[in-house]
């Protein structure tokens, strides 16, 4: 009998972390890979791996293809459509990884700095909020016992920039959004407790430059396998 994989909705799926997550966990989850501008770099319902030197060769990863959906997480209507599509296609959502991020580096006194703040907050904070609440209202609230049984949870990808000040790097607006995401994580954990949904966050330093991307993946997977909620895990080297 085929065992249904847990359904994981991953935003930011074409980014560095999203790509690494898919490559590592495509055989573990039924991943719904949410991308905006650039398509995901993995086999999906719309694209397949091909061997350039032997195009007819069968590539095993094509069988574990992820399901990709283009959606702008800063757009509430596209979030609603995304949730509808996932629920109607898979009938369940077991894990939500909010990895989409909009990064803008600028000194707060630069001419356009403040004008970017709204877009950054829409993607980095309001996107995870709307997606979490939207899935809860559309699906999770109906059956809290099933949520506990299937260990359903949300993992937000924040940053050490949301915890510490790195001077003179132009991180002000980005750091503000990641700090907000950390606090949102705590409140989501509190408000989703009664419906059996756990909520945690990882807060990595720059990857893969200062910490390995693999460490971030391990932390996400660790939260999914745990029973923790309301926790934020900073990931950085002490040295």
């Amino acid at each position: 009998m085929e065992v249904m994989k847990r359904v994981c909705v991953l935003t930011g799926a074409s980014g560095l972390l999203g790509t690494a997550f898919i490559e590592r966990f495509a055989d573990q989850y039924q991943i719904v890979a949410v991308y905006n501008q650039n398509p995901v770099h993995y086999a999906t319902q719309e694209q397949t791996f091909v061997d350039p030197l032997l195009p007819s060769r069968k590539i095993p990863e094509n069988n574990g293809a992820v399901y990709s959906i283009r959606a702008d997480v800063s757009n509430p209507r596209e979030i609603d459509a995304l949730i509808d599509e996932v629920v109607s296609r898979f009938g369940r959502i077991d894990l939500l990884v909010n990895a989409a991020a909009y990064r803008v580096w600028s000194h707060l006194l630069d001419d356009d700095a403040i004008n970017t703040a709204e877009d950054v907050l829409k993607v980095n904070v309001l996107g995870p909020l709307r997606l979490s609440v939207g899935i809860a209202n559309r699906f999770w609230r109906a059956d809290p016992e099933a949520n506990v049984e299937f260990n359903r949870n949300i993992i937000n990808v924040s940053s050490t920039a949301g915890m510490f000040v790195y001077p003179d790097l132009g991180q002000g607006i980005y750091a503000m959004s990641k700090a907000a995401l950390i606090n949102l994580t705590y409140h989501l954990a509190s408000d989703f407790w009664d419906i059996g949904i756990r909520v945690n966050a990882v807060a990595p330093d720059t990857f893969p430059g200062r910490i390995p991307t693999e460490s971030v993946l391990e932390a996400i997977n660790g939260f999914d396998r745990s029973d923790a909620t309301g926790q934020v895990l900073p990931l950085y080297n002490e040295t």
Binding site: Q47, T48, P52, L53, P55
Partner: protein, 258 residues
């Protein structure tokens, strides 16, 4: 002798169908090979940019296109020479079901910061080469036979008209490119699309490529680069004229405008 198995970093490229069939790959060549290729092209770039056509130097040589370019000839050493090799040609032809011919064009494009959008086109163009018996790679020779028109001293029996069959754009020297920087190759559903709003953007990440069959529907364009220059190697394989007509109809051929 170039052996692709020895220089490709992996053999899992992605074949996509939308907005038209194409293949993309990241981390194309092994690091040592890619780094050597980047150094080789950097040396060419360090010779400067010319506002008038100069052989062997990045020059403004493409009318209506905000870029500096130069073509490669068979004297170009490895690693760039891989793009003028039979194994590379054969790989591209096999990926798209194109009959290989000896006729190949390879060169490089460089867009300085703020280069204007290109124009949406499909590359389904007929072109001319000196006829070459056998299966040695033949590049254009404008002294004998102009690439776009076939004009030149050769007799009709000494030249051949073929059609661009497939193209590869390989990105390099674009260190630090990030989403939002522009400089992508935009893919479109129609020639009438807004060039600033591609259906899909192919990012110019180092050591990555996009490849597609040139058809009446392979609409693409360079998208303006806001933050840093964009550099690429571009190469076409060519298919027999009869094959292109049989596949897509002669009326669909994009003949060069004089």
């Amino acid at each position: 002798m170039i052996v692709l198995e020895d220089i490709l970093a992996h053999r899992k490229w992605l074949r996509r169908s939308w907005p038209f069939p194409h293949v993309v790959a990241r981390n194309v060549f092994k690091a040592e090979f890619y780094n050597a290729m980047a150094r080789q092209l950097q040396q060419l770039l360090e010779q400067g940019l010319s506002e008038t056509p100069v052989n062997g130097k990045f020059s403004r040589n493409i009318s209506g296109y905000d870029a500096y370019g130069t073509g490669f000839n068979q004297a170009i050493p490895e690693p760039i020479a891989v793009f003028l090799s039979k194994p590379w040609r054969d790989m591209m032809c096999a990926l798209f079901g194109i009959t290989p011919t000896p006729y190949v064009f390879a060169g490089t494009h460089h867009h300085t910061v703020g280069s204007e959008n290109g124009f949406i086109h499909n590359d389904f163009n007929p072109v001319w080469f000196p006829l070459l018996p056998g299966d040695h790679i033949q590049i254009p020779n404008n002294q004998l036979c102009t690439y776009k028109t076939g004009d030149g001293p050769l007799k009709p029996s000494e030249k051949v008209q073929v059609v661009r069959g497939a193209v590869v754009i390989f990105y390099l020297l674009n260190d630090g490119w990030q989403p939002g920087d522009g400089g992508e190759t935009g893919l479109y559903t129609s020639a009438r699309s807004n060039v600033s709003e591609p259906a899909l953007r192919c990012p110019p990440e180092n050591n990555s490529l996009i490849m597609y069959e040139c058809t009446p529907y392979s609409f693409h364009s360079f998208v303006t680069n806001h933050r840093q220059p964009r550099t690429s190697i571009i190469m076409w394989v060519h298919r027999p004229l009869e094959e292109a007509i049989a596949a897509f109809d002669e009326a669909k051929l994009e003949r060069w405008k004089s």
